[in-house]
């Protein structure tokens, strides 16, 4: 089909003119179908729009979207990858990327493609000096609060200047045992809750070179005690509560003053008009050591065994392009786009929430999510042992030291 070639070029030019800035248009070597695997149904609408924009620019390429729920995603992907049948392009997170890079499942991506993206997110996708995924969104932890409870207790709303002490003081005032009302939800959560507080106290989760655990650092322990302290002081409900009911659901019951959550909770909260009106969001409070917000972004990785490597790489790159990032934002789904200046649409989708202010205040303190080669292995140890501290069965310091010991053993084998 000879006449398709000029058409594709023309379409490619249009995209470039539109500010995509892409220099690696796929060669029109006939029709190609590539598969794109993601796990979040909330992102289906935006993914479909992005795919159709890409196909418009590249008429010879068909992108097939596959959605596998999170619970089966990694198992399915690993099995497919082991058999050499991984999707051409697929969602990757920084927890798993090193494993896939080391296993030769995914192919390195040119460094230049990630230009203009925040290093705190991009760095999560480096292995052995090379980039293995192109991030396309960012998840920022933040402090959600219930305005109604704050008003009733006469406490001023959280601001960007809040510190741990402000949270503790507010939590105390917001707690009312007679109404089964608590100041804060102290659920055990790494990215948005205890990792940030470990860092904010001046500690660390993993050493710079990724070879040593930071859990036995006294400052890290202080960061963990921030949370167990809330439970001990009875301003947050006991650990068993979160095992029964998701903190997001609990928070919406209107009996909890504050929740360390993600900005990506916005669509969930916004969906309910009653909740929408009574809550708002602020940046994470600063700790005694410093300010720190753990940023995490999802990325698209390209299979090393893809039959259409060029098209696949071009698509992965397109998802991160300014054009696609705008589509992502404007769809107002679960994802906050990563490229600076493309987020307006998303902020506007939830006008009464102070998401923009939270974003602006958080990004300068962005820290990459701590990862090593097999992150899941030591995180499993961490979660199991911390559960004992959260339940009040063992002192935090003991547990933290044991995590460090076991984690160091695991890291040494990597």
């Amino acid at each position: 089909m000879r006449f398709r070639l000029p058409l594709a070029c023309l379409a490619g030019l249009t995209v470039m003119a539109a500010g995509c800035g892409s220099s690696s248009q796929p060669e029109a070597s006939g029709k190609a179908t590539i598969s794109y695997a993601i796990w979040d149904k909330n992102d289906q609408a935006s993914a479909e729009k992005i795919i159709s924009a890409f196909q418009q620019a590249n008429p010879d390429v068909t992108v097939k979207l596959e959605i596998t729920p999170w619970d089966q995603y990694w198992t399915k992907l690993q099995t497919a990858a082991s058999g050499g049948a991984a999707p051409d392009v697929f969602w990757m997170n920084s927890l798993n990327v090193r494993m896939y890079a080391k296993g030769g499942i995914i192919t390195p991506i040119e460094e230049s493609k990630a230009q203009g993206l925040p290093p705190a997110v991009v760095d999560g996708y480096r292995y052995d000096g090379k980039l293995y995924g192109l991030p396309h969104n960012v998840s920022i932890p933040a402090l959600w609060y219930d305005k109604k409870l704050f008003d009733a207790a006469g406490v001023a709303y959280p601001t960007a200047d809040w510190t741990w002490d402000d949270v503790k003081a507010a939590a105390k005032k917001l707690t009312d045992p007679s109404k089964k009302q608590f100041g804060i939800l102290a659920h055990m959560w790494d990215q948005g809750a205890f990792y940030p507080t470990m860092l904010q106290a001046g500690g660390h989760v993993l050493s710079q070179d990724g070879k040593k655990s930071g859990f036995d650092d006294p400052a890290s322990i202080q960061g963990l005690e921030y949370w167990t302290g809330m439970i001990k002081d009875k301003v947050g409900p006991v650990a068993e509560v979160y095992a029964d009911t998701d903190p997001i659901t609990l928070f919406q019951s209107g009996k909890y003053g504050m929740l360390y959550g993600g900005v990506w909770f916005a669509p969930t909260f916004w969906a309910n008009p009653e909740i929408r009106e009574r809550i708002d969001v602020a940046p994470l409070p600063a700790g005694p050591g410093k300010e720190a917000v753990i940023l995490l972004g999802l990325a698209n990785a390209v299979s090393a065994k893809s039959e259409h490597p060029k098209e696949s790489a071009a698509f992965a790159e397109f998802v991160t392009s300014e054009q696609a990032q705008k589509i992502l934002s404007d769809t107002g789904g679960g994802s906050l786009s990563l490229r600076d200046g493309t987020q307006e649409g998303w902020f506007k989708a939830f006008p009464s929430f102070h998401l923009k202010e939270t974003y602006n205040a958080s990004m300068p303190y962005g820290v990459p999510y701590p990862v090593s080669l097999n992150t899941a292995q030591w995180q499993d140890v961490q979660n199991k042992l911390l559960a004992e501290a959260w339940a009040g069965k063992r002192p935090v310091a003991d547990v933290a030291k044991e995590i460090a010991t076991q984690m160091n053993e695991i890291l040494a084998k990597e």
């Binding site: 990694w74 198992t75 690993q78 990858a81 082991s82 494993m99 296993g103 030769g104 499942i105 055990m188 006991v238 650990a239 068993e240 509560v241 979160y242 095992a243 029964d244 009911t245 097999n374 899941a376 292995q377 499993d380 979660n383 199991k384 559960a387 004992e388 959260w390 339940a391 069965k393």
Partner: protein, 292 residues
């Protein structure tokens, strides 16, 4: 060569089953055995480590915890078997009205997806909003966080396990009950035995072959319990330690921590455990199972 042809026919007839067994059971067992002696890469690639995985497991506290939880769960579910007998006996009362409705009701849990069962019961068990604690609350009892408390979780899960197995077992018992010839009861009635006496002296003994079958099957199923625990207990739950079963540990090791070899070793240990416990049951059956 008449007999050889007969042999050939016999083999031909069992071939589909034998082939299925070989492909779907024997070969995977052999592979698992092999895998359990290796340290495996996430994407294939194995290094032979001999019995190191087993040595690791035998010194692992978590392994013993999981073993203990699994055995406790199995014992609890087995203790629920008499309930099935009672249900079956009640369903077998001659002239019972709406029999098929009762049978359907008791059998429903068996055909319900475990995911639905697990989720629904999680709601019932919920410490703050659950129906169970609400009912307890009306009589002044402050119910615990059933699924969040390591001391209660395994019992709560066992309740669900018993609940979902009653129907299946009752159908088996019902078949057994209906296989008992009526003349035993007629003779007993003439001798003046009451209903209760008939139950204990005729029904139960003649039901022992069915009971044996049910006990063996229930135990094997209980030892392999995973779905309920997986659905009701989160990996970060404080109750995990008190409710992690062998298969859950297998899942965690193999699919969360990506240690395939070690996970295979856990599977082998479970296989051996089931073999041994089943063998013991077959030995013991001579003492209590009466065949007519």
């Amino acid at each position: 060569m008449h007999s050889r042809r007969e042999w050939a026919w016999g083999y031909l007839l069992i071939a589909p089953m034998a082939l299925g067994l070989a492909v779907f059971y024997l070969w995977p067992i052999a592979q698992t055995l092999y895998l359990s002696m290796t340290e495996s890469g996430v994407f294939g690639g194995y290094t032979w480590v001999g019995t190191a995985n087993f040595a690791d497991l035998f010194t692992d506290e978590e392994m013993y915890g999981a073993l203990g939880n699994t055995l406790l769960y199995s014992v609890l579910v087995l203790a629920g078997v008499p309930l099935s007998i009672v249900v079956a006996a009640l369903l077998n009362v001659p002239g019972l009205r709406g029999l098929s409705i009762y049978r359907t009701l008791y059998f429903l849990p068996v055909v319900t997806m475990p995911a639905a069962v697990g989720l629904t019961w999680s709601y019932l068990f919920n410490g703050d909003f659950g129906a169970i604690n609400h009912v307890l609350g009306t009589v002044g009892i402050d119910g615990p966080y059933w699924l969040g408390d390591p001391d209660f979780a395994i019992y709560a899960i066992a309740v669900v396990g018993i609940w979902s197995s009653i129907g299946y077992n009752a159908v088996l018992f019902l078949a057994g009950l209906q296989g008992i010839p009526r003349h035993y009861y007629e003779a007993a009635e003439i001798d003046g035995a009451g209903r209760l006496r008939q139950f204990f002296r005729i029904t139960l003994p003649l039901l022992t072959p069915t009971t044996f079958f049910v006990v063996v099957i229930t135990m094997i199923n209980a030892l392999q319990v995973f779905d309920l625990v997986y659905l009701m207990i989160d990996l970060k739950s404080p109750a995990l330690e008190g409710s992690r079963t062998i298969v859950y540990l297998f899942y965690e090791t193999g699919f969360v921590q990506n240690q395939r070899g070690l996970a295979a070793a856990i599977a082998v240990i479970l296989l051996v455990l089931i073999l041994v416990l089943t063998a013991i049951q077959f030995r013991l059956q001579k003492k209590w199972v009466h065949y007519e």
